[in-house]
């Protein structure tokens, strides 16, 4: 069945300036076919497919559509000849599709050969294995059973745990080394980390915690008003911010800013062999890269948590003044009675532990990176997710422990 109208369409050229976008789209998506594809049943009972025109990468979609339709229609045990005599130009991509067509037919035990074609076309046929008599096989992947998948996943998890334990072991040894030889500590990076993770993070920590205090007070004000207990907004905001939200929100911000940055930075150093180079110059990666980052974060944690507490309470104070008509003096007086020193101290300790966990996990993930840019991305994502999980877990542990010890 000849496609008579294909001849006209084959004159369509994609680089023709007048070609409108829709016209081009319909060609490259295979809706319009510019080459000819003719099926001829021969007297000997074989099938001849006569291709003609110019078949290039822009026609690949239309060609693949034809190939896919035809493969299923050909009866088994029938010989097929793909006649290339009418083709003026064919490129490698389209030739690869025709070779795949032949492979698929041969897989169904249908004899298939290329025939004809000018010298240019023959060269492309040769280059893409069109003359091969061998029955090309698609490399088949052996299906992986569920048991194998579970086994592989278990091994991967155990490897990860082993890596983590190895990292912690080396870190402990390095910390002891640094205690014995304080000169081996990379002090420059402690200051740099404190500046980047502390001073540079202060504006966002202030803004977010102000809004947290503000929203919390606003949400609770309606309920408190109903019971005539508006003044207790100071207790609610004060205790929540100092014991829970101040350190947690600060840690989440540090995780997003510094945790991701540490993992990406160390990961990039690892894949570009900078960590190996460091080792060949006599430096241990842990004291040089990990401990300074950890110390830098631990140093800024109390300051950031205290700032977060203060600004969060201030946010609550603003709502109290505007929405509940509580004067700042009354708010502060109530706050003094509600918030105890141990609330603030336990929050600061939480913040320090959170920051240590952030540094530990992000550096471990960074130093475990392999596999180029994709590996860096994977480890950075993994670092952030692991840190968030660890923060919530640590927070829960703190809550239980503080309750047990009555703090």
């Amino acid at each position: 069945m000849a496609d008579a109208n294909q001849a006209d369409r084959s004159s369509l050229s994609l680089d023709r300036p007048s070609l409108v976008f829709d016209e081009r789209l319909s060609i490259v998506t295979g809706m319009v076919q510019r080459f000819s594809w003719k099926r001829v049943e021969t007297a000997e009972g074989t099938l001849r497919l006569e291709l003609g025109g110019s078949i290039t990468i822009d026609d690949a979609a239309a060609l693949w559509k034809r190939v896919s339709e035809t493969v299923g229609l050909i009866q088994a045990e029938k010989a097929v000849t793909i006649e290339l005599g009418g083709i003026q130009v064919i490129d490698g991509a389209c030739m690869a599709l025709l070779v795949q067509f032949r492979t698929d037919l041969r897989a169904r035990r249908i004899a298939c050969e290329f025939s004809g074609g000018n010298s240019e076309v023959r060269r492309i046929v040769d280059l893409y294995g069109g003359r091969s008599k061998r029955r090309a096989k698609r490399p088949r992947r052996r299906p992986v059973s569920a048991v194998e998948q579970v086994g592989a996943a278990t091994i991967a998890v155990l490897d990860e745990v082993k890596q983590m334990l190895d990292f912690v072991g080396r870190l402990v040894a390095s910390s002891l080394h640094v205690l014995r030889h304080p000169r081996s500590l990379n002090l420059r990076d402690v200051g740099l980390t404190a500046e980047r993770a502390g001073a540079d993070a202060a504006p966002i920590v202030l803004l977010i915690n102000f809004l947290i205090g503000f929203v919390m007070a606003y949400q609770s004000s309606a309920q408190l008003k109903q019971f005539g207990a508006s003044i207790y907004v100071a207790d609610l905001v004060g205790v929540s911010m100092t014991r829970e939200l101040g350190p947690l929100m600060t840690a989440i911000i540090i995780c997003g800013r510094s945790g991701a940055a540490f993992a990406a930075e160390l990961g990039t150093m690892k894949v570009s062999e900078e960590v190996d180079a460091l080792r060949t110059l006599g430096f241990l990666p842990q004291p040089y890269l990990v401990i300074p980052r950890m110390l830098g974060l631990i140093l800024v944690a109390p300051i950031l948590v205290l700032l977060a507490d203060a600004i969060g309470i201030a946010g609550g104070g603003v709502v109290a003044a505007i929405n509940l008509d509580i004067t700042p003096t009354a708010f502060l007086a109530q706050l003094q009675g509600a918030v105890r020193a141990k609330d603030i101290i336990s929050g600061v300790i939480k913040g320090v532990v959170f920051c240590a966990a952030i540094a530990l996990i992000s550096c471990q993930q960074g130093l475990a990176t392999s596999g180029g840019a994709e590996g860096v991305g994977r480890r950075t994502t993994s670092a952030v997710v692991s840190i968030l999980f660890a923060l919530i877990l640590l927070d829960a542990l703190f809550t239980v422990m503080l309750a047990v010890f009555g703090i």
């Binding site: 040769d126 280059l127 003359r131 080394h177 570009s272 062999e273 900078e274 190996d276 180079a277 460091l278 080792r279 060949t280 110059l281 006599g282 430096f283 241990l284």
Partner: protein, 249 residues
Amino acid sequence: MSKPMITVQDLSIGYGTTVLLRGASFEVARGDIFVILGGSGCGKSTLLRHLIGLEDPLAGSIRISGIGAPRLEGAAPRYGVMFQSGALFSSMTVGENVAFALQEWTHLPIDAVSAIVRAKLALVGLEGAEDKLPAELSGGMRKRAAIARAMAFEPNLIFLDEPSAGLDPVSAAELDELILTLNANLGLTVVMVTHELESIFKVGKHCIMLDRETRSIIARGEPQKLRSETDDPRVRQFFNRETSVPQWQ
């Protein structure tokens, strides 16, 4: 005959359960330019990482003269290493890269360190590049800067991973000249991994060839002699750039 610089005995290397090389033994003489050859995936870069001490062998021993087993951390570098990409610290200038270990492991005043850095950079033809960042250097310059960093502690042994890879012919030839100069003038022992034939014949004094299939050393000796005298088709194929896949009809 003087004691060899490196002695490797019955070395097996690999990752996890994958063995890349089994029971390899060889020696690297003092003042040699020793080339580790082989096709892709045969484990030549992994062998270099073991010789440097970045990985622990599965079995066997590596002894470096005056050091024993390769040791890296916790002391001034005892030998120099240049990585394939240069691996310069990207946050530091070229001068800071070269000065880095000197500042840590010596008590030299800053002026003295600067003088040594300038001299080392001049040695590799990078005068005046102290204040440039690695990103501002070309591939060849980056590798030469990495050699300057590796040479900072006056080592008598240097390891080079694919020094000519990815370089234009002129930069590659310059780097070969630099390796020959350092070897001839300073008596530096060079162990390098490469598969650039021109470099192998120009600078290599001795070589070993690794094979992925047999996981062993399949040839050893002088590169020129191996090329002309070998009976092993795998070695001949490598040295004569013969293909193992059928040519297009």
